[in-house]
C-alpha cells in the first residue's frame, strides 16, 4: 500500500479509535459496514435478498435471530462473520468483500450494547446543533470555527496561522469571482489600515457581476450544461439564455429554494415570465438523440432518467439511478418511489421555446405597438368597419365548405419517425433529415374530392413551436403531389394535376438562408416563395412557411384544387407526397428545412376563393358573433383587414413593419402537456416493459408531498426545497464547502445516502444547512460565512507533521491548496495578459481551436466552429461553445465535464497534456505575448522590477530574490540567443503584435518567453 494511503488510513483509524473510546454510533460505525458488506443480499431490495434475511431493519434482524441484543455470542451474524468455514463465512469470499478484525470487534461491541439502530443521519432533517465549546474561543472568527476547532482539539491539532494578506486576497478573489486581483487591488488591500478592509473586499467580490459567472459555472456542472445535443449528431442547441439566467440568479442572490423551483417548474408559476420559463432549461439540458432510426420514446425516457439523476445528484444529494431498474440495494428508495418522483416530472413537452433579449423585446414591442396604431387608425378612418366586417363574415360563412380530415395509415419506415396525433395530424420526430420525400397514404371510401388541404401546425417540441423542423421552426415544400389508385389495383396510380393553390402564407421570392444552402453556396440557385411554387413542377422553387421572423411560427395552410375533381366509385388509395428538398447538405448539422407537423383534409364542397380561410378564423366564424371575446374580435378584424383591398395602403405599412421584427433566439425549455402522461413503473428500467401505473409522490423515507389531491411538477419542485427535506440544504452547503476546501464535509456530494462515507464534521454540516434555510436560503450568506471564518483564512502551507497526520486535510488544520478549475486556469492567463473581455452573458463564443477537431474522422460529422472576433475570443472560459462530443481541448485536459451527466465533483488531474496546453496551445502562447507586451508597456524601470510586476499580475505577490534571479538568468540566456541570431524575434513575435523597432521586437520576444514561463508556474494556476 502506498505511503499516501497509509497516511489516509492512519488518520481514519485515529479518528475512529478516538470515537471507539466513546460509544458506538450506529450511523457512523455500523451502518456503513452493514450497507457496504451486507445490504446487497440482506438489504431493502426483495429481489436480491438471500435467505429471507434483511439487516436494514432491526426488528427483522432480531426476529431472524441474526442479532440477539446484548448477546453477541448468540447472534447469528457474529457467528457467520467470524466463521472460518468458507461456505458459512459472511460476507461470502466470492463477493470480494471482507470485514477486518476491528470491524468485527465493532459489531461485537455494538450488539453487546443492545444493538441500537438509528435512522441514517441524512434522512433525519437537520437540527441546529449547539456550538461546541472550544478552548480557543477568543480566537475564533465565526461559528464555523467552533466546529472545526473542536475536532482539531480532539485530534491534538491546532489551526495554522492566517494566510498572508496577498495570499488571502488572491484566494478570495479566485474563490469568489474566479479571477485574480489586479495590482491596484493588491496595493490597496496591503496598504489598507482600515480594520474593515477585508470585509470590504469580501463585499466587493460578493457583489461583483463576476461572482455569478464563477459560481454559475459551478452550478452548470450540476446542470450538465452544454451547447449541443450529444449522441451521434451532437447538433448545436441554443441554451445560453439558461446559462445567463443561472449567472443572473446567483448574482441576484436568488434564494436557493426559488432557484430550484424555477428550474423544475418555472413554467407552472402564475403568469410565468420569460425568465421563469428559461429556468426550466435545467430539465432540458439532457442529451437528445436524433440519430437516424432512434426511437423517440426510448430516448425521451433516457432523458427522463437523466433528469432524475441530475435532480438526485444536484438537489437531493441522493443517487437514484439504481432504482430505475430495481429497489435500491442500499438506500430505502424502492423502485416504486423512483417512478413516483418520475411521474411528477413526466408531464411536459420537450419544448424549444422562443425567447427575446431585452433589446429584442423592445424592438418587438415597438413593431407591435405601431401595428396596433395603424389598426386603430383604420377603425378611426372607417367608422363603419364593424358593419363591413359583419357583412364579410356573413358572406364568408355562407360559402364555407366542410373539410374532412384524412389520417394517413401508411407511414414510411425511415430514419425520421412519424407519430400520428389524436387530431389526425402527423408529427415528424427523431432524425430531422435536411431533405425529405415523404409519402403517406390511406385507403378512402368512394367519394368525390374537389379540393385538398394541407395544414401546417405548430407543436411545442418543434423549434420555436414550429410548424417546421428547421432551426427557425420553418419548413419548405418543394413539390406537393397527390396520387390516387383504386384499392383493388393499388399499382394503377395516377398523379392528380393541380391547377390552383391558395395559402395564407405567401412569402416573396427569395434565395435560401445560409443555413440551408448547398456546400457550394454560391452556385445554389434554389429559391422559396409563394404557394404556387409547390405545384410548379420545378425542383428549384419551394413554398415556404417562413413569412418573416415575427409570423413564421404560426399555423399555416395550403389548399390545392385539381383540374378535375378526384372521383372514385370504389375504395381508393390516396397518397400524399411531400417533396421537401430545400434543406442543406450536412445531415449532421441544423440544416433541415422540412415540415414538423401537418394534417391533410379533403372536401367535396364547391370552393370559391373566399373560402380558404385560416383554421383559427374558421373557428371564429362558426361561433355567434356576440359571443366572441374582444381578443377574438380583434383576430377576426386583423384577418379581414389583411385581405381587404380597401386597406391596401395600411396593409402595406403593416407588412413593412413586420419585416423589422427581430429574429428571436430559441431556448430549450419545458411546456406542460394538456393531458398528462400516465407513468408506469418500468420493469428492469425497460420502457417496453411497463409495470403498474404509479402516481406522483415522494419516497416514504423522505418528507411527504404537501397535501394536495393531485400533485404536479410544481408540488414536486416545492417538495424538493421544503424545509423538512432532510438532504436538500445539506447537499448544497456541502457542495459550496467542497468548492472552498477541495473536499466536502461529506466527500461524496452526489450521495449523502447510506453508502456515503461519514461526514468529517456532521454537526457543522447540519449547522450550515439550518443556517441557510433560516437565512431565506440565501447562498451568499453561506459564502460569506465561509470566507470570513478563521478556518478558511488559514495558511495553506503544509508542515511535514501535518502532511503526515492529515494528508487529505480532512480536519482542516490548514488552508486548502489546489489547482484551480479548467476555466479559471485560462481566465487567470487572460487576466494577467490584460486581454480579458469582461462582457457578461450572450451567445457562446468560439476561440481558436484546431480545425480538424470539427471534421471527420475526429468528429462524427462536419461541425461548425465559426471563429469569434478577436475581442470575443478573449471572453471568460465559461462562454466557450461546448460540444458534448468534441470538448474544447484546453478546458477538457483540465477536467471540464462534458455535460453528458450531472457532475457535482470534478476530478482534479495533473498531467503532461496540461503542460502541453499551457506551454504550446496557440491562445496560451498569445496570452504570453500580450502579457509580455503589457509588462514592457506598463513597467519601464528595470528587469527586476518588471519581473516583480509580472509576478504581481500572475501570482499576486512579490517574487523573492532567488525567483528574480532564476528568471533574470532565463531572460539573459534568451537575449543572448536572440542577439546571436540563434533565435528569431520575428518568429517568436509572429504577427500578433505590431512592433516595428528592431530592438523593441527583440525585447518583446525575450519577454514573451519569460511571460510564458511565469504563466506556467504551478502557483499561477493554484489557489493557495
Amino acid at each position: 500500500m502506498s505511503f499516501r494511503l497509509l497516511l489516509a488510513f492512519g488518520i481514519l483509524i485515529s479518528l475512529k479509535s478516538s470515537i471507539q473510546a466513546k460509544d458506538i454510533d450506529f450511523n457512523r460505525d455500523i451502518r456503513p459496514l452493514l450497507s457496504d458488506k451486507c445490504y446487497f443480499c440482506h438489504g431493502p431490495d426483495e429481489e436480491t435478498r438471500e435467505a429471507d434475511l434483511r439487516l436494514d431493519q432491526r426488528g427483522a434482524a432480531i426476529e431472524y435471530g441474526a442479532i440477539v441484543p446484548g448477546k453477541p455470542s448468540e447472534s447469528l451474524i457474529l457467528e457467520r462473520i467470524t466463521s472460518s468455514d468458507p461456505d458459512l463465512k459472511m460476507p461470502p469470499p466470492s463477493s470480494g468483500k471482507s470485514l477486518s478484525e476491528a470491524e468485527i470487534e465493532t459489531f461485537r461491541k455494538w450488539i453487546e450494547n443492545d444493538a441500537p439502530y438509528s435512522e441514517h443521519w441524512s434522512f433525519v432533517p437537520p437540527q441546529r446543533p449547539e456550538l461546541p465549546a472550544s478552548p480557543l474561543k477568543a480566537e475564533l472568527q465565526n461559528p464555523i470555527d467552533h466546529f472545526i476547532a473542536a475536532k482539531l482539539d480532539e485530534n491534538q491539532l491546532a489551526f495554522s496561522p492566517p494566510a498572508d494578506k496577498e495570499t488571502l486576497l488572491r484566494r478570495l478573489s479566485l474563490d469568489l469571482i474566479g479571477l485574480p486581483p489586479s495590482p491596484e487591488e493588491i496595493a490597496e488591500f496591503l496598504s489598507a489600515t482600515d480594520e474593515n478592509a477585508q470585509d470590504q473586499v469580501i463585499e466587493r467580490l460578493l457583489n461583483s457581476p463576476h461572482f455569478g459567472e464563477h459560481w454559475g459555472r459551478w452550478w452548470l456542472d450540476a446542470a450538465r450544461y452544454a451547447d449541443s445535443d450529444g449522441y451521434e449528431k451532437d447538433k448545436q442547441r441554443e441554451v445560453w439564455f439558461y446559462r445567463d439566467w443561472v449567472i443572473n440568479s446567483l448574482n441576484e442572490n436568488k434564494p436557493y429554494n426559488e432557484f430550484i423551483i424555477e428550474q423544475i417548474a418555472g413554467d407552472l408559476l402564475p403568469q410565468a415570465s420569460q425568465d421563469e420559463i428559461v429556468a426550466t432549461g435545467f430539465l432540458r439540458n439532457s442529451m437528445v438523440n436524433e440519430e437516424g432510426g432512434a426511437d423517440p420514446e426510448q430516448f425521451r425516457v433516457e432523458g427522463m432518467f437523466d433528469r432524475m439523476d441530475a435532480i438526485g445528484k444536484a438537489i437531493l444529494g441522493l443517487t437514484t439511478q439504481c432504482a430505475q431498474c430495481h429497489t435500491h440495494k442500499f438506500d430505502p428508495i424502492t423502485q416504486t418511489d423512483y417512478y413516483r418522483m418520475y411521474a411528477a416530472l413526466n408531464d411536459f413537452h420537450e419544448a424549444i421555446t422562443t425567447v427575446y433579449t431585452p433589446e429584442q423585446q423592445e424592438q418587438r414591442k415597438s413593431v407591435l405597438d405601431q401595428i396596433s396604431q395603424i389598426k386603430a387608425r383604420i377603425k378611426q378612418q372607417h367608422p363603419d368597419w364593424k358593419q363591413q366586417l359583419e357583412n364579410w363574415a356573413d358572406q364568408t360563412r355562407e360559402h364555407l365548405v366542410t373539410w374532412k380530415t384524412v389520417t394517413p395509415t401508411e407511414v414510411p419506415y425511415e430514419g425520421q419517425k412519424f407519430r400520428i396525433l389524436e387530431d389526425g395530424s402527423v408529427l415528424s420526430e427523431s432524425y430531422a433529415p435536411t431533405k425529405s420525400n415523404v409519402e403517406l397514404s390511406q385507403t378512402l371510401p368512394a367519394q368525390e374530392i374537389r379540393a385538398v388541404r394541407l395544414d401546417l401546425l405548430t407543436h411545442p417540441q418543434l423549434p420555436h413551436n414550429g410548424p417546421g423542423r428547421s432551426l427557425y421552426g420553418t419548413g419548405a415544400l418543394t413539390e406537393f403531389e397527390v396520387h390516387v389508385a383504386p384499392a383493388s389495383d393499388p399499382g394503377k396510380k395516377t398523379k392528380v394535376k393541380f391547377t390552383r393553390a391558395f395559402s395564407n402564407v405567401n412569402a416573396t421570392r427569395s434565395a435560401l438562408p445560409a443555413a440551408f444552402r448547398e456546400k457550394n453556396a454560391d452556385k445554389d440557385d434554389r429559391v422559396t416563395g409563394p404557394i404556387e411554387y409547390a405545384i410548379d413542377d420545378d425542383k428549384k422553387t419551394a413554398w415556404t412557411s417562413d413569412l418573416d421572423p415575427g409570423r413564421r411560427n404560426e399555423n399555416a395552410y395550403a389548399v390545392f384544387m385539381p383540374e378535375t375533381p378526384i372521383n372514385f366509385d370504389e375504395d381508393f388509395v390516396l397518397t400524399w407526397k411531400l417533396a421537401q428538398l430545400h434543406g442543406g447538405w450536412n445531415s449532421d448539422d441544423n440544416q433541415s428545412y422540412i415540415f414538423g407537423r401537418y394534417r391533410f383534409s379533403v372536401t367535396n364542397g364547391d370552393l370559391t376563393e373566399t373560402d380558404p380561410v385560416p383554421l383559427a378564423i374558421r373557428k371564429l366564424l362558426s361561433q355567434p358573433e356576440d359571443q366572441l371575446s374582444d381578443e377574438q374580435q380583434e383576430t377576426l378584424f386583423s384577418y379581414w383587414r389583411s385581405i381587404n383591398p380597401e386597406y391596401s395602403a395600411e396593409n402595406a405599412e403593416i407588412e413593412a413593419l413586420w419585416k423589422s421584427h427581430p429574429a428571436p433566439v430559441s431556448q430549450l425549455a419545458v411546456k406542460t402537456m394538456k393531458s398528462h402522461r400516465k407513468t408506469h413503473l418500468m420493469q428492469r428500467g425497460d420502457f417496453l416493459n411497463p409495470g403498474n401505473e404509479v402516481q406522483p409522490g415522494a419516497p416514504d423515507f423522505l418528507n411527504p408531498f404537501q397535501d394536495t389531491p393531485a400533485p404536479d411538477r410544481l408540488d414536486f419542485a416545492r417538495w424538493l426545497v421544503s424545509k423538512d427535506s432532510p438532504t436538500t440544504a445539506r447537499t448544497i452547503v456541502n457542495r459550496i464547502w467542497q468548492a472552498y476546501f477541495g473536499r466536502g464535509i461529506v466527500s461524496t456530494p452526489e450521495d449523502l445516502g447510506s453508502q456515503s462515507p461519514p461526514p468529517s464534521h456532521p454537526e457543522l454540516l447540519d449547522w450550515l444547512a439550518v443556517e441557510l434555510m433560516e437565512h431565506n436560503w440565501e447562498l451568499k450568506h453561506i459564502h460569506k460565512l465561509i470566507v470570513t471564518s478563521k478556518t478558511y483564512q488559514q495558511s495553506s502551507i503544509i508542515s511535514p507533521e501535518l502532511l503526515e497526520k492529515d494528508p487529505f486535510n480532512i480536519l482542516l488544520a490548514r488552508g486548502a491548496r489546489f489547482r484551480v478549475r479548467s476555466e479559471v486556469v485560462r481566465d487567470i492567463a487572460l487576466t494577467a495578459s490584460g486581454l480579458l473581455n469582461r462582457q457578461i452573458g450572450g451567445p457562446s463564443v468560439y476561440p481558436p481551436a484546431p480545425k480538424f477537431l470539427f471534421q471527420p474522422p475526429a468528429s462524427y460529422g462536419p461541425k461548425q466552429w465559426p471563429l469569434s472576433s478577436q475581442t470575443q475570443q478573449y471572453r471568460r472560459s465559461l462562454y466557450i461553445h461546448q460540444y458534448r462530443s468534441v470538448p474544447y481541448p484546453p478546458l477538457q485536459v483540465f477536467d471540464s465535464p462534458k455535460g453528458d451527466a450531472s457532475c457535482v465533483r470534478r476530478t482534479r488531474s495533473n498531467t503532461p497534456l496540461q503542460a502541453l496546453v499551457m506551454l504550446n496551445e496557440p491562445q496560451f502562447v498569445d496570452f504570453a505575448k500580450a502579457f509580455a507586451k503589457r509588462i514592457l508597456t506598463e513597467c519601464d524601470i528595470d528587469d527586476a522590477e518588471r519581473i516583480q510586476y509580472a509576478f504581481q499580475l500572475a501570482v499576486s505577490r512579490e517574487a523573492d530574490e532567488e525567483e528574480v534571479e532564476i528568471l533574470e538568468s532565463l531572460l539573459k540566456d534568451i537575449r543572448q540567443r536572440i542577439e546571436s541570431g540563434e533565435l528569431s524575434s520575428q518568429e517568436i513575435n509572429g504577427n500578433s503584435t505590431e512592433v516595428d523597432q528592431h530592438s523593441e521586437a527583440k525585447e518583446l520576444a525575450a519577454w514573451s518567453i519569460l511571460a510564458r514561463a511565469i504563466l506556467n508556474l504551478d502557483e499561477t494556476i493554484t489557489r493557495q
Binding site: S2, G96, E302, Y413, L983, N1016
Partner: protein, 474 residues
C-alpha cells in the same frame, strides 16, 4: 510587502514525495476522493499510472482494439448463410419478427442474400467472404465469434455499450478500466491511445474513450498521423528545444522552491508532468514516424508515411504497443451500409483487410502476438432483411460477428453460430458483457473485482453481467 515568514525549511515529507513521484508515470490525481481513499486502497498508489499487477498472471499485456464503427455486415464478411441466399427476395417468418424493433426499415422486409461468395481457408477451414483475401492468410491465428449479440440498435448507444459496457454516457471505457487496473509502462507516452480513420468520426464521439468517473488521467489520448501526433505537442513558432528546456528549468526551479516553501506534494507531480511532457515532445513524434520502418513492413500494411489511413494506424498501433502503450483503440467509422452495401463492403475491405492481416502477421513475427490481444468488430451487426431496393441492410443487435487474436485467445477456431437466416444467435451466444469479462480475464483481472466506487456503488466494466467465454481461451 514581503514581510511575513514564507520559508519553511526542508520539507522532508514533500521531498520524499518528490523523489517518489519524479519521473514516474503520466501524472497524478490531485486529490483522491474519500471513496478512492478507502475503497480501493490496496490497489491504488500515489500515482494512478504507476505500473500495477493484475489479480492473477495475465495472458495479454496489451490490447489493440480495431473498432469498426457503423456496424459491419456479418453476411458479407464472416457469417455465410446459404439458406438466406436461397430465400433472397422472400419475406422473413412472421414469428421471428415478434417484438423486433428496427431502426430504419419495416421489419417485414424481404430477405437479402449475401452479396459475396464465401470459401473455407487455412487449416481451420474458417469461412470468409472473398472480400477478405488478406485475412484469409492469417485465419488460423484468429478466433472468429459468429454469435455476438448486443442490446442497442442505434449507433451511439451501441458504440457506448461496446466501449464502456453501458448504453449510458458517463461510464469509463474499456481502455480506461485497463489503465486503471494496470497503470502505465511507458514513461514517455500515454497508456491509452486512440486513432480515428474512415468516412466519419465515431457516433459516440470521445465518450468512446472517456474515463467516465475514473480519474481523467485514464482517458484515452487521441493521436493523429498528420500534423502534431498529440494536440499542442509542437513548440510555438520560434521556440526551439533549447528554449523549451531552459523555460522548463526556470519553471521547475521556481516550482521546486515553492514545493519547499509550502510542502504540497502536488507541486512535485506538476514538475514530473512537465518533464514527461518534455519527453513526450520527442518520444511521440519518434513513435509516430513511419519513415523508420523498413519498406517491406510498410508494404505489408499498405502504409504510407505521412498519410492518414487505417493502414498507418495499424502499424502505429504496433509501434506504440512496442513502446509500452497498454491500450490502442483504432476507430474506423464507415460500415453503416444502409445502402450501397456491395460497394461499401468492397471499399471498406480494401481500406482495412490488408492492414488487419498485416498487423496479426507482424505482431506474430515480432513475437508480440502472444501478449497482445487484437480485437476486431463493430457495435452491432446488420439485418438479414433488405433496406431500400436490394443493396442495403439495417442495424441489427441480435447477432453479429467479431474476431479476436493473440493474447491468450485460442487460434484457428470459429465460435458460436447463428440461425439459418442469421437473424438470431444459434449456439453459444456471446453478449458484449461476456466479451468484456473475457478480455479482462485475459489481462489478469477478475472482472467482478476490478471495481471503482462511485455514487455509493462499486461500478465495473461488466456492470452486473458478464460470463467468461472459456471456450475461446487458449
Amino acid at each position: 510587502m514581503n514581510n511575513h515568514p514564507r520559508i519553511l525549511p526542508h520539507n522532508h515529507v514533500a521531498r520524499r514525495w518528490f523523489l517518489q513521484q519524479c519521473g514516474i508515470g503520466l501524472g497524478g490525481v490531485a486529490m483522491a476522493s474519500m471513496s478512492q481513499e478507502t475503497a480501493k486502497a490496496a490497489s491504488l498508489s500515489d500515482d494512478p499510472l504507476a505500473p500495477k499487477q493484475p489479480h492473477f498472471p495475465a495472458r495479454a499485456k496489451n490490447v489493440i482494439l480495431l473498432f469498426m464503427g457503423g456496424g459491419p455486415s456479418q453476411f458479407e464478411l464472416f457469417d455465410y448463410k446459404p439458406t438466406l441466399e436461397k430465400l433472397d427476395g422472400t419475406l422473413p417468418p412472421a414469428d421471428l419478427l415478434k417484438g423486433y424493433r428496427a431502426a430504419f426499415i419495416n421489419p417485414n422486409s424481404k430477405l437479402l442474400g449475401p452479396k459475396y461468395p464465401f470459401a473455407k481457408h487455412g487449416e481451420s477451414g474458417a469461412e470468409l467472404s472473398d472480400q477478405l483475401p488478406h485475412l484469409a492468410k492469417v485465419v488460423d491465428d484468429l478466433c472468429i465469434i459468429r454469435s455476438m449479440k448486443t442490446d442497442a440498435f442505434n449507433h451511439a448507444p451501441g458504440q457506448l455499450l461496446m466501449s464502456t459496457g453501458s448504453q449510458q454516457f458517463g461510464r469509463p471505457s474499456m481502455g480506461s478500466w485497463v489503465t486503471y487496473g494496470l497503470g502505465n509502462e511507458s514513461r514517455n507516452l500515454p497508456s491509452y491511445i486512440v486513432f480515428n480513420s474512415g468516412n466519419k468520426g465515431p457516433s459516440a464521439g470521445s465518450s468512446n474513450w472517456s474515463s467516465g468517473f475514473l480519474p481523467t488521467v485514464h482517458s484515452g489520448v487521441e493521436f493523429r498521423t498528420s500534423g502534431d501526433p498529440v494536440l499542442y505537442l509542437s513548440n510555438p513558432e520560434g521556440i526551439d528545444r533549447q528554449v523549451q528546456r531552459s523555460t522548463l528549468d526556470a519553471v521547475n526551479a521556481i516550482n521546486r522552491r515553492q514545493l519547499d516553501l509550502v510542502g504540497d506534494p502536488e507541486i512535485a507531480t506538476r514538475i514530473s508532468s512537465y518533464e514527461m511532457a518534455f519527453r513526450m515532445q520527442t518520444s511521440a513524434p519518434e513513435a509516430m514516424d513511419l519513415n523508420n520502418e523498413p519498406a517491406h513492413v510498410l508494404e505489408q500494411y499498405g502504409a504510407e508515411p505521412g498519410k492518414a489511413s487505417f493502414a498507418n494506424n495499424c502499424l502505429l498501433a504496433r509501434r506504440l504497443v512496442q513502446r509500452g502503450v497498454r491500450f490502442v483503440q483504432l476507430f474506423h467509422e464507415s460500415w453503416d451500409q444502409h445502402g450501397g452495401l456491395k460497394n461499401g463492403i468492397a471499399n471498406n475491405c480494401k481500406a482495412t483487410d490488408q492492414a488487419c492481416a498485416a498487423l496479426i502477421a507482424d505482431l506474430k513475427q515480432q513475437g508480440m502476438l502472444d501478449e497482445t490481444l487484437v480485437i476486431w468488430g463493430g457495435e452491432f451487426g446488420r439485418t438479414p432483411m433488405v433496406q431500400g431496393g436490394n443493396d442495403g441492410r439495417d442495424h441489427h443487435p441480435n447477432s453479429f460477428s467479431m474476431w479476436l487474436a493473440g493474447g491468450g485467445i485460442k487460434p484457428g477456431i470459429t465460435h458460436g453460430s447463428t440461425d439459418e437466416l442469421g437473424f438470431n444467435v444459434g449456439e453459444k451466444p456471446v453478449h458484449v458483457h461476456d466479451l468484456h469479462a473475457t478480455i479482462l480475464h485475459l489481462l489478469g483481472f477478475n472482472h467482478k473485482q476490478l471495481t471503482f466506487r462511485f455514487q455509493g456503488r462499486d461500478y465495473r466494466l461488466t456492470d452486473v453481467h458478464g460470463e467468461i467465454v472459456k471456450e475461446i481461451l487458449a
